[in-house]
Symmetry: C2
Subunit: 223 residues, 2 copies
DNA sequence: CGAAAGTGAGTGTTCACTCACTCATTTATT
DNA sequence: AATAAATGAGTGAGTGAACACTCACTTTCG
């Protein structure tokens, strides 16, 4: 593929961020690692300090609370999630670059898989947080969902009009895409055996292409 | 559908269990509710006692530790998961009852969705535990995966031989099934808006039927 | 020297867990 | 049948440890 890959935004942001001392960066890194390894509640601030090679007071120099530290760890990726989800989904991109649905899906899947792999720890922390914090979850969803529907919707409509994609409601198609993405993330997070990037990629593209290609018996008997 | 539905095994087991006082049952119920609402670590034993209308000492009368209490809450469902996953997957059932792949998937999906709905809280607690406890996770997977492959495998081979199912490796097919199940569970757990049982069911069956029906371009270029 | 970064002993609170005790019911003794 | 003894579920104040967070002080660096 000739397209540029989505890079590891988190690392990038950490590096770009100026006013940050090596110790503060070590604290962020140790927090991320430990939160992903053991979970937020099971990680003590003294764990973090120890892993980062720093006194506990140093952690609280910049971050007022442990929760604020988690927010600081997640801030860079949180800002990138919506653009990642929606990028490539423009009619322009679509018509200029991709000759077929499969080619389109290949490009989309490839980038997203890279992003997930590069930010797996952050995603794990986000999922843990979202699992039991309904308020935060709703805030996130209420920001992401409409943008997805809006940015992706017109392209889906175009694909459907061109008979390139199954004629389902857009929210069902988006749900299909996201289900596969969640499944992929879950498989990575759970460290299931026998998974490899190439195999996952081939599989994801095959499933999505098959589901989203229009067929003969596609009527969904939904109101 | 004329088939019997899978019932709410957890409630059933709680009732069947003899030597259990009302207070002890209240403790189990309160634990399950609170673990699912707030998460295990965020639930204190005094929370549980209060919700159950019981003194904190009563909790420790039967359960040595808080973790043992969680295990007791999950024990009934844990014993049922493998049978649920594998039931219906016998060649006998398949040929006697189901005229088509779609009819087969409809029956399978229906029962599993009932089970998930009836045991959603328990599943949430299990997922939280599995997320950060690699040892437990591997123990669970090492028990479930081989049984799934064994019990489901021969039927999949039959379906493939009869040209009723796409000729993919069995583990990929199982992965497809489980991905959809996980996606469904995730959607329920996250309480996404706009979901209903009927809609989910129609959707799941449609997606699975489409993916698993043999087609023209099904070659997966995998070693 | 001044300012910012870093330190680690200290603090108040929360929490999992304990234990001496109560009380209602069952079993044994007269 | 009446009374005593034994049993075990239930209680809640108490305990020690862990934890998030603070602050008076030290070190680093421009």
């Amino acid at each position: 593929m000739s397209r540029p890959r989505i890079r590891d935004y988190f690392q990038q942001d950490l590096d770009q961020n100026q006013n940050i001392t090596p110790k503060q960066r070590a604290i962020l890194q140790a927090s991320l690692d430990l939160f992903a390894e053991k979970g937020f509640d099971q990680t003590s601030t003294s764990d973090i300090a120890q892993r980062a090679g720093v006194a506990e007071g140093t952690v609280y120099r910049r971050y007022k609370t442990k929760a604020a530290l988690r927010d600081a760890v997640l801030a860079p990726i949180a800002a990138k999630i919506v653009p990642i989800l929606a990028s490539d989904f423009s009619e322009d991109e679509l018509h200029r670059r991709y000759p077929s649905l499969q080619a389109f899906l290949t490009a989309v899947v490839n980038d997203r898989m890279q992003f997930v792999q590069n930010n797996l720890k952050e995603l794990k922390v986000i999922f843990e947080m979202a699992a039991f914090d309904a308020t935060r979850r709703e805030r996130i969803l209420s920001q992401i969902a409409p943008q997805m529907v809006q940015q992706v919707g017109s392209v889906l409509d175009q694909l459907k009009a061109d008979q390139l994609m199954v004629d389902w409601p857009n929210d069902l198609i988006i749900q299909t895409l996201l289900s596969q993405v969640f499944g992929y993330i879950a498989r990575l997070m759970m460290e299931l055996p026998g998974t490899s990037f190439d195999r996952e990629q081939t599989y994801l593209i095959a499933v999505l292409t098959k589901v989203l290609t229009p067929g003969e018996n596609d009527q969904l008997e939904i109101d």
